[in-house]
């Protein structure tokens, strides 16, 4: 199983904002259990989609030097739900970023209409600050995530990330 909850980036302004989309499909196994006969995208996975959008934005802002760990969900509120056939869009913005951490704010939209807010805090974990039980390599920005960004970079779109 691949733990990627965004399909592609549609906008990316380095150090500022990023937008990604996720198409909810009936082929996703978990939807058959959540809930039987009434498939709904779990809210926790919507938070994960925003965390991946915002996390890559935060990682890119510092050249992917550190592991960017989701440390706190400041806010997650939804006033609608998504079902197979819907497209979710995650618009994430960096509010604060420094050596230790980053704060992001985000709006989740369904088929173009806002349906929720997800504000997050990420912690920067580098070699010096990482607990010994964590691996030495960058275990957050794996090839899968970097490929996702590379796909976006290869599109001829304005505001694409710089090739730092």
């Amino acid at each position: 199983m691949r733990w990627i909850w965004i399909d592609s980036f549609v906008e990316f302004t380095p150090k500022g904002s990023a937008s990604a989309v996720k198409n909810v499909t009936r082929s996703e196994d978990h939807l058959h259990d959540h809930f039987p006969g009434f498939p709904v995208m779990p809210a926790a996975l919507i938070v994960e989609g925003m965390a991946q959008t915002a996390g890559i934005l935060v990682g890119e802002a510092r050249g992917f030097r550190e592991n960017v760990i989701l440390a706190k969900i400041r806010k997650a509120s939804f006033d609608d739900f998504a079902v197979p056939g819907d497209q979710l869009r995650y618009d994430a913005k960096i509010e604060t970023i420094d050596d230790q951490a980053a704060v992001t704010t985000g709006v989740v939209s369904k088929n173009g209409k806002p349906m929720g807010k997800v504000n997050l805090i990420f912690s920067h974990v580098n070699q010096a600050s990482k607990p010994p039980e964590l691996p030495d390599h960058n275990f957050v920005f794996t090839d899968q995530f970097m490929d996702l960004l590379a796909t976006f970079r290869s599109k001829d779109m304005s505001g694409s990330p710089s090739d730092e």
Partner: protein, 130 residues
């Protein structure tokens, strides 16, 4: 115009209710952040970010919560803080009330130094300097 202590407290109270998901009436001047309000380590960072925004101030790492002193094993002897450690901590935290802690500087009691008043004092000093 100078911000009154009540105004500072009001904003700090709002920061803490938002950051920790507690009710207004739980946040009194003497409430301890960890013991009474349930703050965990990442919450301290969240509180710092929110205070910076609410008061338009910059809080350098380790100034409000001097974790490098708090986590330094050199300043600990058994379950007590050493006199040197205590002195360092007092210098680093003029905004905290040490009257109880210094009588019996148990390491386990260190989190009790971080009360709502500690934050209010810190912000007040910061606003006066600015």
């Amino acid at each position: 115009m100078a911000t009154s202590r009540d105004e500072v407290f009001g904003k700090v109270q709002e920061v803490l209710t938002d950051a920790l998901g507690v009710d207004d009436d739980e946040v009194s001047p003497e409430s301890t952040l960890q013991g009474d309000l349930g703050a965990e380590s990442i919450d301290f960072l969240d509180i710092v970010f929110r205070l910076e925004k609410a008061f338009e101030i910059k809080i350098p790492k380790g100034e409000l919560f001097p974790d490098e002193i708090l986590n330094n094993p050199e300043y600990v002897d058994g379950d007590k803080m050493t006199p040197t450690g205590l002195e360092k901590l007092k210098q680093a935290m003029p905004h905290a009330d040490f009257s109880k802690f210094e009588q019996q500087p148990d390491v386990a009691k260190m989190p009790d130094l971080f009360t709502v008043d500690t934050i209010v004092n810190y912000v007040e000093n910061k606003l006066q300097v600015a």
